[in-house]
């Protein structure tokens, strides 16, 4: 029974022979991964911006970033998803497809966590790096751009991978507003077939587990590799 539905769990109703024209129909695990990939990409830039604003000396940008980060981190992701789902009709005057509105929620939610990673990563660098860069004649922005961020970002890669893992898990919440990702395909199959709920939920748990575990172990090995090249005090 599970075997018959496995392709549905993996890519939903999309015809993989002709993927691109049908990409709208993509579902299942493929949709979860697409959500997670686009989400982490968007969240990276938004989070980098918020993180840099958070550590800047300008009071206005510092405090506005702080409020943003605290508010988003203090709110359950589910509430954010509902927010963007129900806010769009008020702001835009039309409904936003659930895929897009959940994507916005994922980006906003994850960016706050990435901002904290960025802040911690930049603060973890020895202050001598900044002083040396400024001393060699670079401006603050240049020093940030060419000396601090390249090192800090490389050290942050494992944390980004971890954030990607938790985003992959969190995409299951898009089920609630009706995105056809892995969780929803499972519920659909569960409603169609009776008496095999146990097998269905174990199957999708294993699917999520495989993806996330590979990424987690990858981030662990990256962490070991990177710690050798870190700039340290002394």
């Amino acid at each position: 029974m599970i075997w018959d539905n496995l392709d549905y769990f993996l890519w939903g109703a999309a015809k993989l022979t002709n993927t691109f024209p049908y990409v709208k129909n993509i579902g299942g695990l493929a949709a979860s991964i697409v959500l997670a990939v686009i989400g982490i990409f968007g969240a990276f830039w938004l989070g980098l911006l918020a993180g840099l604003m958070r550590i800047s000396r300008n009071k206005i940008s510092k405090y506005s970033a702080m409020v943003y980060i605290e508010v988003v981190r203090g709110t359950p992701l589910l509430m954010l998803i509902f927010w963007f789902f129900f806010l769009a009709p008020i702001l835009l005057g039309r409904t936003l497809p659930s895929f897009e509105s959940s994507l916005i929620a994922f980006i906003v939610f994850t960016s706050a966590y990435i901002a904290e990673i960025v802040r911690a990563g930049v603060n973890a660098l020895p202050s001598g790096q900044m002083e040396a860069a400024r001393g060699s004649g670079l401006s603050h922005v240049q020093a940030m751009r060419f000396v601090i961020l390249p090192q800090a970002l490389r050290n942050m890669i494992p944390s980004f991978v971890n954030q990607f893992v938790s985003l992959t898990k969190d995409t299951s919440l898009a089920y609630i507003i009706g995105v056809n990702e892995l969780m929803r395909t499972a519920v659909q199959v569960d409603n169609r077939e009776t008496r095999i709920s146990f097998e269905i939920y174990i199957t999708i748990a294993i699917l999520y587990f495989v993806v996330c575990y590979i990424l987690t172990s990858y981030s662990r090995s990256l962490e070991k590799k990177i710690s050798r090249y870190q700039a340290r005090d002394r």
């Binding site: 806010l87 709920s197 939920y201 587990f209």
Partner: protein, 255 residues
Amino acid sequence: MQYQFNWIASVTGEPGRWLWEGFVTTIEISFIGIFFAMVLGIIVCVLRMTRFKPFVWISAAYTEFFRNTPLLVQIFFWYFGAGVILPESLNNWINQLYYWFPGPFSLGGSQFEGQWMLFSSESASVIIALSVYTSAFIAEEIRAGIFSIPKNQLEASRATGLNFLQAYRFVILPQAIRIVIPPLISQFLNLIKNSSLAMAIGVTELAYQATQIESYHGLAFEGFTVVTLIYLAISLVISFAINMYNKHFMLQVKY
């Protein structure tokens, strides 16, 4: 876009009662979940640190599996899936839990009619899912905290004549607890936020009440804002407490 905001209607009358009920349910689920998560987490962590290999493997597999699967899937699993592996009689008993505490009861000064939602099979499965999921994270946090104490502390205390348990009891744990508490509290915070997923299987907690207000009055924006603010208030209070704690105690940990 002409949208008339109606904040009053979203917090008074029927919605107000729902919000309070949802708040109480969220807090109840969260606190019971935190309790069991701590118990499970400590057990898993202790098993992980023993020398007996099968214990280590089991607890490592437990941690990895529950950390790397979404909470929502786990909730659905415990609610819809787990029934078939239980014996028929136990299953029936769980399904009848809903009728165990009938009638009106008062809590925190306000009267509730109907059944005690907490003991429905829905909330039982949410509590199981939340505590199992969070316990995996808690086990990792505690392990990280204990490993962050330099190894020579243990060696030194063993050398001064303490046995293994005494060394842990008097030297390692008092230091580790200080380091572990802030990440533990943020795990509690995560658990409180994650309890919002309980609405997916129909537990009437805060997030569920927001959707109920939405369908009752059509006040989507107001309802979700109010509920978000309540969650925000809970987590800001707790993170404020963490910061105070850090200020008082973290400075004393020095090597």
